[in-house]
């Protein structure tokens, strides 16, 4: 039986067991605990606020499964990203679930769960901009590849030359801050926005030349009728300063919660729940590769996250 097929069968099995309320692979851990989970509700398709105020998306769906498996009473609350880490540290929320990339810089102030997805960062510009002809379109630049292959060094220096003097807009405190500081900050102007929506408006109006954000956010945006003047350009970025996938942000002293969530994430990755939900929301498999435990076989292996950008057939 091929790995993919096995994954699919496993996924189906879990789907059935979950829908009948028998998630058996993780035993409920000690006592139930109430946790408040902060999300943005404005980062489709990860988290979206519906007109009636309810939250939907990849993360709310996944959390429903995870909270059940980790024996947690979860309460999802929406708030702006720019105050979320402060809210976590002030105990207003216990978990951040907002497509938070596990980056070295954030690890200094936050604890992270295991990754529950892995996606790439992509550039978007206006169709009539000179940047629309940027080189290396679609090339996946893995910044962790060490030693850096010749091709990637070339691609990075080409990127620097093409972006020289341009203005790039990012959401404040974004995943890309450290990457931009290291590779581009000395040749470009970086503008920070409180929300992705405001940044997108300025991209459309031409106040900024391009933006860098997650492929799962930007691809659906490009498909929207309002964004027909925008185009995906240049290489896709992953690894290094951009982090090792998306994980839940936790307070560093809350190790009990981290352990519970990690066990649940591992089970959801292994039984194909993550794959199923990412296909549903991203139209691509964003399953992360977790450090394998001996004897493990998990369907995620067959689908490295770098492929997240390419639509499934």
């Amino acid at each position: 039986m091929s790995k993919t097929l096995r994954g699919a069968v496993l996924g189906l099995a879990v789907l059935l067991s979950q829908e009948t309320g028998h998630a058996t692979d993780v035993a409920p851990q000690d006592t139930p605990r109430t946790v408040v989970i902060g999300t943005e509700g404005a980062f489709p398709p990860w988290n979206i606020t519906r007109p009636d105020g309810t939250l939907i998306g990849f993360e709310p769906d996944l959390l429903q499964v995870l909270c059940q498996r980790a024996n947690l009473r979860c309460q999802l609350v929406a708030q702006d990203w720019d105050g979320m880490i402060g809210a976590l540290q002030a105990h207003k929320i216990d978990v951040i679930a907002d497509a938070l990339q596990i980056t070295p810089a954030r690890k200094a102030v936050l604890a992270f769960s295991l990754p529950y997805a892995i996606t790439t960062g992509v550039f978007v510009t206006q169709k009539d901009s000179p940047l629309a002809r940027m080189a290396n379109r679609g090339l996946v630049l893995d910044l962790d590849a060490s030693p850096t292959p010749e091709r990637q060094t070339q691609a990075l220096s080409a990127l620097r030359e093409e972006l020289r003097g341009k203005t790039l807009g990012v959401a404040i405190s974004s995943t890309y801050d450290a990457f931009l500081d290291k590779y581009l900050a000395d040749v470009i102007t970086v503008k920070s926005y409180r929300t992705m929506g405001e940044r997108d408006l300025d991209l459309l109006s031409g106040r900024i030349d391009l933006t860098l954000d997650d492929t799962t956010y930007l691809r659906p945006l490009l498909a929207a009728p309002d964004a027909q003047d925008l185009v995906l350009v240049g290489p896709e970025l992953i690894g290094g300063e951009l982090g090792a996938g998306e994980g839940f942000g936790l307070r560093q002293d809350d190790t009990a919660l981290a352990e519970r969530l990690n066990a649940a994430i591992r089970s959801a990755v292994e039984d194909g729940t993550v794959r199923r939900l990412s296909l549903k929301w991203f139209k691509a498999d964003a399953t992360p590769t977790l450090d394998a435990r001996p004897g493990d076989a998990h369907p995620g292996d067959a689908h490295p996250g770098a492929a997240a950008g390419s639509p499934q057939p």
Partner: protein, 243 residues
């Protein structure tokens, strides 16, 4: 503790570099709003109904809507208007500092005009009549009698408005301007240390406002002829020839 103090020190140094941006927005919109408010006040006492209607509509619109909404409307809204985006005006509207100054000028002129209008109504009628009795009319009456009284009456409320404006400049940070608040948010985004950074920013605003209110209080004292420690320029013994 030592690390803590070093951090606050470096944060303060970063924030101080953003003070000129805050002061620029304050100065430009303060001056423009005051000039515009003077015009609006004149319109409010015009004989024909049209200027009065314009002044009332202006006040109604800009005093009745939140400043942040006005800023967003000018910054994001106008960028969606094709003839602005592709016209000559785009050079100005592209710039977030210009958009902030424009929004604050419109909004604050409505408030200041109301302050001036109230002060104008409070100028003692006897003073104006006395001026008229001396043969003053028009601009001379305004300059010699009405304006000095009006400024004295309006100054306390006007100072209040200026201090409110100083705090309102922080809204510029919502449209990517790196003023004191904008830089503070940047620093927090990189360090995740909220309290220290906001306290340092608050201290800078306090310092600016303390300076402004000291200056304005000094001006108030100086203009208060009844209690002025040093007399104003001596009143000429004879009236100037009537114009």
């Amino acid at each position: 503790m030592g690390e803590h103090l070093t951090f606050i020190g470096s944060v303060t140094a970063q924030l101080v570099r953003a003070v000129p941006v805050t002061l620029l927005i304050l100065a430009v919109s303060g001056v423009c709003a005051t000039v515009l408010a003077t015009g609006l006040t004149a319109m409010s006492v015009a004989r024909s109904p049209l200027p009065r209607l314009i002044q009332r509509t202006w006040t109604f619109l800009f005093r009745g809507t939140p400043l942040i909404l006005q800023i967003f409307m000018i910054y994001y809204g106008f960028a969606m208007v094709p003839w602005i985006r592709h016209g000559l005006l785009w050079a100005a509207f592209r710039d977030p500092v210009f958009c902030t100054c424009l929004a604050m000028t419109c909004c604050c002129s409505a408030y200041i005009a109301e302050i001036f209008r109230g002060a104008l109504a409070a100028v003692p009628r006897g003073e104006i009549e006395a001026g008229r009795a001396c043969g003053m009319t028009g601009f001379l009456l305004l300059r010699r009698v009405i304006a000095p009284s009006l400024i004295r009456i309006a100054l306390p409320s006007y100072s209040n408005e200026i201090i409110m404006m100083t705090k309102s400049t922080s809204l510029a940070s919502t449209i990517t301007v790196l003023d004191i608040t904008g830089v503070a948010q940047q620093v927090i985004a990189h360090s995740y240390r909220t309290l220290d950074v906001f306290c340092a920013a608050a201290a800078l605003y306090l310092l600016i406002n303390a300076t402004l209110s000291t200056l304005l209080t000094a001006l108030e004292r100086r203009l208060d002829v009844d209690r002025a420690p040093t007399p104003l320029a001596p009143i000429p013994p004879t009236l100037e020839p009537l114009s």
